[in-house]
Amino acid sequence: MPESSETKKTLKKKIVFKPSYFSFPYILLCAIFVVLPLILVFVYAFIDDKTGHFTFSNFAEVFTSANLILLLRTIGIALLTTLICLLIAYPTALILASSPFNKFVILALLFIIPMWMNFVLRVIALKELLTLIGVKNGLFASVIGMVYDFLPFMLLPIYTVLTDMDKSYSEAASDLGANGFKTFVKVTLPLSAKGIASGITMVFMPVFSAYAITDMLGNNNTTLIGKIINELFINSGTWGVGSAFSFVLLLLVFGTMILSNLVGKSPKAKGGAK
């Protein structure tokens, strides 16, 4: 032991450059391009666009009834999309990870392929199909478009968790007399919570920014908050309000981040306690 620590000491003297220094360019990059912009959003949110003074009025603008309805509507569409994605993706992942199906790797791949294709082109394709079968632009078409775009992002994490899961847990459950349904509810579902949590984060928050989809498939009643923020910045003189909006979204992002971390950790913590 003393020998090795000695050699380490001599090494440290010889080499000034530590391998951990390789991460420094990125740390600098993060400071400029990730942290600084967030600070700027925060600062601009409290600056009056006309006078340049400190103000809370931007937030007052955000929480006017019209904008509040917009925010709630966006949250509603995001929740609906997430829920439908989960209801389709979970059974699909469960089937794909179960026994005769998990032999065909290509089958799972087929569900993921669209994720690699440009989403605008896919949504345009969907729009053509919907027009062909007579579905008009609106909330229904918008939600279909959202689900169509985000389904792979929900499917992939759940599928990964289910395939990595130790099958002996569910076997043990059925050996101990649990039926298929009980095994699923008591064993498989809690063990896959982490996949569900990351699936939800991959779908829920991105919907807020997916205004391209509602612009292609929706109408005036499906405008998303992302579009409004974008417009506030394209027009000069409304950056303060736009920043305040972004700041509110940022708080939502942190909220979902904390929530998904909690959900992701819970089954492990429970297992440890028992």
């Binding site: 951990s20 360019p25 979204l249």
Partner: protein
């Protein structure tokens, strides 16, 4: 009795998968079929019309704006993905050896991943104005988009490369140094060759994310008329969409399909040879 029940259940499972797959591929199939039609609109009075390659011809000869957008998309995608792969790999190695502050760096890069696109877009927008104000003239446009896309996609490269690094012997780097290589040389000749697989996946992911980006690009493309495929298609929604987009979609879909199949075949082959070696 039980076997018929389980057989029925199996049929039900197949049916479910097939229905979901059909929903996923029907729109794409429609576009592919109609990319060979001469009709300007899908589902017009003439139906499919005549089978022709006219749209493909039009795409390459008579759709200058669509072709420009495709070129811009590729330039931004390839350059930003190359930068992201380089920095991401470098960072993964650095983070692997970093003791203090690792959690902070991981948290910040997680912010980039989970943050709402529109907030990221606003951040880059305000940053360009801030930098210009403090005397660093930043012009929104191609260069700025490359920087933005590189920053956004680097965390994904780190996420793909880092796990491979943990499979390596941690002493490899120091072995390189002991044998007389400098830090850079040790990195590039000892560590990087072991990470190629992860780097290729990381590059592919970064490239696709860049191609798929709409929100950040739309707010940061500037006023010089730099358009990518996504922003171009979005902008032309108000007017009529160039039907050559069907040909472009088909080409992109085929490229994605072929690339993914090749990628998976190579991966499976490697896995099999690895398993053989282990045996």
């Amino acid at each position: 009795m039980k076997s018929t029940k389980s057989k029925l259940f199996l049929c039900f499972k197949w049916a479910f998968l097939i229905i979901v797959l059909a929903c996923i591929y029907l729109p794409i199939l429609l576009i592919i079929v109609y990319s060979f039609s001469g009709e300007p609109n899908i589902g017009g009075v003439n139906g499919f019309g005549q089978f022709t390659f006219a749209l493909y011809k039009k795409l390459f000869t008579n759709s200058p704006r669509l072709m420009d957008a495709t070129k811009n998309t590729l330039i931004i995608g390839v350059s930003s993905a190359l930068i992201a792969t380089f920095i991401g790999t470098l960072t993964s190695v650095g983070l692997y050896y970093l003791r203090k502050g690792k959690k902070a760096v991981n948290f910040v890069s997680e912010i980039t991943v989970v943050n709402a696109d529109i907030v990221t877009a606003v951040g880059f927008f305000l940053l360009s104005i801030f930098l210009t104000r403090i005397g660093l003239p930043v012009e929104k446009g191609m260069g700025w988009l490359i920087v933005a896309h590189a920053v956004i996609t680097t965390p994904y490269v780190i996420l793909t490369v880092s796990p491979r690094l943990h499979q390596l012997n941690p002493n490899l780097y120091e072995a390189g140094l002991d044998l007389g290589a400098g830090p850079m040389r040790s990195l590039f000749t000892v560590i990087v060759p072991q990470l190629i697989g992860g780097m290729v996946s990381g590059f592919a992911l970064a490239f696709t994310l860049s191609l798929d980006d709409f929100v950040v690009t739309n707010l940061n493309k500037g006023t010089n008329g730099v358009e990518t495929i996504t922003t171009f298609v979005y902008a032309s929604l108000r007017r009529s969409l160039d039907p050559a987009i069907r040909a472009l979609s088909t080409i992109i879909f085929v490229i994605v399909l072929v690339a993914l199949i090749i990628f998976n075949v190579v991966k499976n082959k490697k896995l099999k040879t690895q398993q053989k070696i282990i045996k």
